[in-house]
């Protein structure tokens, strides 16, 4: 049995909130550099260069890459041999978010009631998913999700007879409808399987993977590459102004499903893919 103090969790979450908003991840930087070489639209190249420059300014001056510093989504993997002391785990995560957004001068974008609005003034609550796993460590994977891209995401309950073609058509249609709104070049998370609720979580989880990383099942890995190719053939391009760099990568997460169903969810992330993890 390992004990972890809530204070440690608060501090780690606070630092992570600030760090991910300021520093462009290395895999995104690399993917952007590669796409500049491949892009043949002149406006597109220029935009990709400006996005990279933006990342440099943000880390040098320690200000957020994007003004939409997002709503915090957390995936927690808690070892069953871990004991949390001096408070509740959820409250510790929210306290970390609260402090990070205040001390890091990040934008508080969360409203209390979705209909009546009214800012909570501290960017909480975070959306937290818990998973209990074997072992004695606590893994907190945290993403700051902007809503320019979140708003363009979609879910659909397909029929089994729709098969892989139905999945592809739905993914492509979603990206087409999104156009320039989610700040392309985008990163696409696709969930397939499970239930209505599970599939959207899978799509979100798919966004946590490193760019370039393929699904361990090569059938799914090939489908990722096929979809990525088709998306980049849509011509949407950086910011929607035309070009071949519409998506930097696409990841799929699957889960077994019911004999009668084929749920599919598409979660879109912008180029400022902000996420990071800590293990305590």
């Amino acid at each position: 049995m390992k004990t972890i103090d809530c204070k440690e969790i608060v501090d780690a979450v606070k630092k992570l909130c600030i760090q991910i908003n300021i520093n462009m991840p290395n895999d995104v930087k690399e993917a952007l550099v590669n796409s500049i070489n491949d892009e043949d639209s002149m406006i597109g190249r220029r935009i990709l260069e400006d996005i990279l420059l933006n990342g440099q300014i943000a880390s040098r001056k320690e200000i957020p890459m994007c003004q939409d510093t997002g709503m915090i989504v957390v995936f927690v993997e808690i070892g069953q041999d871990v004991k949390i002391i001096n408070g509740s785990l959820s409250e510790a995560i929210n306290e970390g978010v609260r402090l990070g957004y205040r001390e890091g001068f990040l934008r508080k974008s969360v409203v209390k009631c979705p209909i009546r609005r009214g800012n909570t003034e501290d960017n909480t609550p975070a959306v937290i998913h818990f998973d209990i796993v074997p072992g004695n460590s606590l893994k907190i994977h945290l993403g700051a999700k902007g809503f320019g891209s979140e708003n363009m995401s979609a879910v659909k309950m397909l029929k089994p007879s729709d098969e892989v073609k139905g999945i592809k058509d739905f993914v492509i249609e979603t990206i087409k409808n999104a156009g320039g709104n989610p700040c392309p070049p985008i990163i696409v998370g696709v969930g397939i399987g499970g239930t209505f609720d599970k599939v959207t979580m899978l799509a979100k989880k798919a966004l946590l993977k490193d760019l370039g990383q393929r699904h361990e099942d090569s059938y799914i890995g090939d489908l990722e590459l096929e979809l990525l190719k088709e998306i980049n053939e849509l011509g949407i391009g950086p910011q929607g102004f035309g070009g071949k760099t519409t998506a930097l990568d696409l990841h799929i997460e699957t889960f077994p499903t019911h004999i009668a169903g084929l749920p599919v969810a598409v979660n879109i992330n912008c180029h400022a893919s902000r996420h990071g993890e800590i293990i305590l």
Binding site: D50, Q67, G235, G237, Q239, F241, G242, C270
Partner: protein, 186 residues
């Protein structure tokens, strides 16, 4: 790709010479307004109330910046998705607004209002909040303070980088860019 420099307030001559795809560096005073501020401006116009700033020949920037850290004028300040303002935009254009800065496509009603009122829609790079922040030299909250990040700010900008996305003739880069790219590709 040549940069065109323009100063606010916009003149008819400025607007006439702008065409889609041009890179424009904007300097001068611009006003921020996003979702809630637009709703309020719209209702004030309907109710015949006096607006917090004169719309004539001005530019509105759709942005909700992060708080300024010590020593900075403003925080990260990239554009938000313009489509959410579409419901309010035609009326605001009718009242004299000449330019908008945001990101993403506009609906048909807005494009028609842009043509009718000889206005222009500029796109800034979505997510380039740090880069744009460096072009903002002054910032002052002038209305709707209670809205926090959504309040109306009067900004003074120097060479804010944008691209003409919809020009006064209604040419739309979000359609033309993709089409011309696909044609070239085939």
């Amino acid at each position: 790709m040549e940069n065109i420099k323009i100063e606010t307030p916009l003149t008819i001559t400025d607007i006439d010479k702008l065409t889609v795809g041009q890179k424009v560096l904007i300097s001068g005073v611009i006003y921020t307004a996003r979702d809630q501020a637009h709703k309020r401006l719209y209702n004030m116009i309907i109710e015949g109330k006096e607006l917090p700033f004169e719309l004539k020949d001005q530019i509105i920037y759709y942005v909700g910046p992060t708080p300024a850290s010590p020593g900075r004028v403003i925080g990260s300040a990239g554009p938000t998705t313009s489509g959410r303002m579409d419901a309010y935009t035609p009326l605001i254009l009718e009242k004299g607004l000449k330019g908008m800065i945001g990101k993403g496509n506009r609906n048909e009603a807005v494009i028609n209002a842009i043509k009718l009122n000889k206005a222009v829609y500029f796109a800034a790079i979505g997510g380039a909040g740090a880069l744009i922040s460096d072009c903002i030299v002054e910032s002052e909250t002038i209305a709707f303070k209670d809205l926090g990040t959504e309040a109306i700010h009067k900004l003074v900008v120097k060479d804010l980088p944008t691209i003409v996305a919809i020009d006064s003739k209604g040419n739309n880069l979000y359609e033309l860019g993709t089409e011309s790219y696909l044609k070239k590709d085939k």
